[in-house]
């Protein structure tokens, strides 16, 4: 029973990792940009959530109404003002610039909020649980997982059933020809980053309600996000969810064996998948 419990908790934890990863997956898919600052942007969203809850006295989930558009706006401006200039045939400039951005965000957060661990207060939902067949399932992890599934379903719908998504795919296929169709690449990339950071806002708030955070935790979230993307297969959003779940389950099972093995087990699972299936478990099928 304890093992089943570990697996169930791992699956639910995987939802959070999938939310970390969805934004990464989206921007890599559209513009081949690997965003090293992604983890720090998640943490930035958590801090924005904290400031909003403190200033307005609202629940962190209500704060999303402000944090999501704020992060989307930051994403659009960041992309058009900075990251678009780094994109080209060379993959190194975006890596270096987003690495620098990561350092800047961390230090700015440190300056603004100090290094003390802080937490978003979610109230009763944090400790509420459902009893299902002898298992105690936390409401918050369950909600996180449901939000992850909904977010990925929504992204999938945007990508494959809207004209915005058509533009994303076209620009990803061939930037010049997409430009001929009246799509301004710079604007499309800005919209993609805005969408990615809107999802990141959700991830940041859920992270902040689940655990305490400080300005330095972004790097770890970035790694989890990367691992989920790679396990699932690049460019496949549902694969990213599966990747997050595999990572989450590996971590909780590792922790069950020995509490010190939690992170290691996740990384080992990632390496095993990478060695056996270098393209991930569900790579996007190229036509």
């Amino acid at each position: 029973m304890e093992w089943i419990n570990a697996v169930v908790q791992g699956v639910l934890l995987g939802g959070l990792y999938a939310l970390f990863a969805a934004g990464l997956s989206l921007i890599f898919g559209v513009m081949r940009l690997v965003n090293i600052a992604h983890g720090d942007l998640i943490v930035l969203a958590a801090y924005l959530g904290l400031s909003t809850t403190m200033m307005l006295g609202v629940h962190p989930f209500v704060a999303l109404l402000i944090v999501m558009p704020a992060m989307a706006g930051i994403g659009y401006v960041l992309q058009r003002g900075l990251l678009n200039q780094t994109l080209g045939d060379d993959i190194l400039p975006p890596l270096l610039v987003t690495f620098g951005l990561s350092v800047i965000i961390q230090n700015a957060l440190l300056e603004a909020y100090s290094a003390d661990p802080l937490k978003l207060s979610g109230g009763a939902i944090e400790t509420a649980s459902l009893s299902v067949g002898g298992l105690a399932i936390g409401v918050l992890p369950l909600l996180t997982f449901a939000v992850a599934v909904a977010a990925i379903a929504l992204l999938q719908w945007v990508f494959y059933a809207t004209s915005l998504g058509r533009g994303f795919r076209a620009v990803s296929d061939n930037q010049d020809i997409a430009q001929l169709m009246g799509l301004n690449r710079a604007h499309v990339f800005g919209l993609a980053m805005a969408l990615a950071l809107a999802v990141t806002a959700i991830a940041g708030i859920l992270l902040g309600v689940r655990t305490s955070f400080d300005p330095s935790v972004g790097g770890g979230r970035l790694i989890f996000g990367f691992e989920a993307v790679i396990i699932g297969g690049l460019g496949n959003l549902w694969g990213t969810l599966a990747g997050g779940v595999i990572l989450g389950v590996a971590q909780t099972i590792g922790a069950k064996i020995d509490p010190g093995w939690q992170l290691l087990a996740g990384h080992v699972a990632f390496l095993v998948v990478l060695a056996a299936r270098p393209n991930g478990l569900f790579p996007r099928v190229e036509h």
Binding site: S163, R166, G167, R169, A170, S172, D173, N174, D176, I177, A178, Q179, L180, M181, G182, L183, N184, R185, E286, H287
Partner: protein, 236 residues
């Protein structure tokens, strides 16, 4: 003389340090069908890229309806009413046939062309509408590329090497569809290696040679010998 639809004046196009076009002068009046011929490397595709905005130049080197557009980006040029059918089709592999066409309609200028009109012109595309665009044959892909450009309802449509790599019977059917397209009052520039095909559908012809205009004339009056000389740069 009325204002030309497209006026190219002293166009010098560069790829980095390499100069591909040298002082090209060209005018296209509304409703004309212009053939652009020339050997490989003469600068035909560069000319198409310069007009469509994929290659930016000094603003006044390309003017469309009297407005300088040489420095505009391709998406801005598209909204003004110029569409390019690119060399080698260049469909979006992630998009279905129908999505490729719909994307072409993003610019959505007012005009006669719509999805149903394109399907009327190329009925096979309607049957294949849900397929990935790259699963089609070369000729069908060319139909999608043409349809995609038409969906924007451009005033000027540029065809770059539309017969390249296609079977003769397919080329024939695509050229048979051309009058139906330009008959809608659209102005067209056709880049073509097959000179007789190009001359058959056009009213005027420009020949490029090593980045310069080597011959210009109405298709009725230029002779084979003149074309040969302009094409190869040798006296026939």
């Amino acid at each position: 003389m009325p204002e030309p639809l497209l006026n190219i004046a002293g166009l010098d196009a560069h790829y980095g340090d390499f100069q591909a076009l040298y002082g090209i002068d060209m005018t296209v009046a509304e409703g004309e069908v212009i053939a652009i011929i020339g050997a490989n490397g003469a600068g035909k595709t560069t000319l198409m890229r310069s007009i469509s905005g994929l290659l930016t130049n000094a603003a006044e080197q390309v003017a469309f309806k009297g407005r300088p557009i040489g420095n505009l980006r391709a998406d801005q040029v598209a909204y003004l009413g110029i569409a390019l059918v690119p060399e080698g089709r260049q469909l979006f592999p992630s998009l279905s046939v129908e999505e490729n066409l719909l994307l072409g309609g993003k610019v959505a200028r007012p005009g006669p062309w719509s999805l149903s009109k394109v399907f009327e012109l190329f009925p096979i595309l309607k049957e294949r509408r849900a397929q990935p665009s790259t699963s089609l044959s070369g000729g069908q892909q060319q139909m999608v590329a043409i349809g995609r450009a038409l969906m924007a309802n451009p005033e000027l449509i540029l065809f770059d090497e539309i017969s390249l790599g296609l079977a003769p019977v397919i080329i024939k059917s695509i050229y048979e569809a051309l009058p139906g397209i330009v008959g809608e009052g659209m102005t067209a520039m056709i880049v073509e290696q097959d000179i007789s095909k190009a001359l058959a559908v056009s009213s005027r012809v420009y020949c490029l040679q090593e980045g310069r205009v080597s011959l210009e004339g109405t298709t009725g009056t230029v002779t084979r010998d003149q074309i040969t000389a302009a094409y190869f740069g040798v006296d026939a």
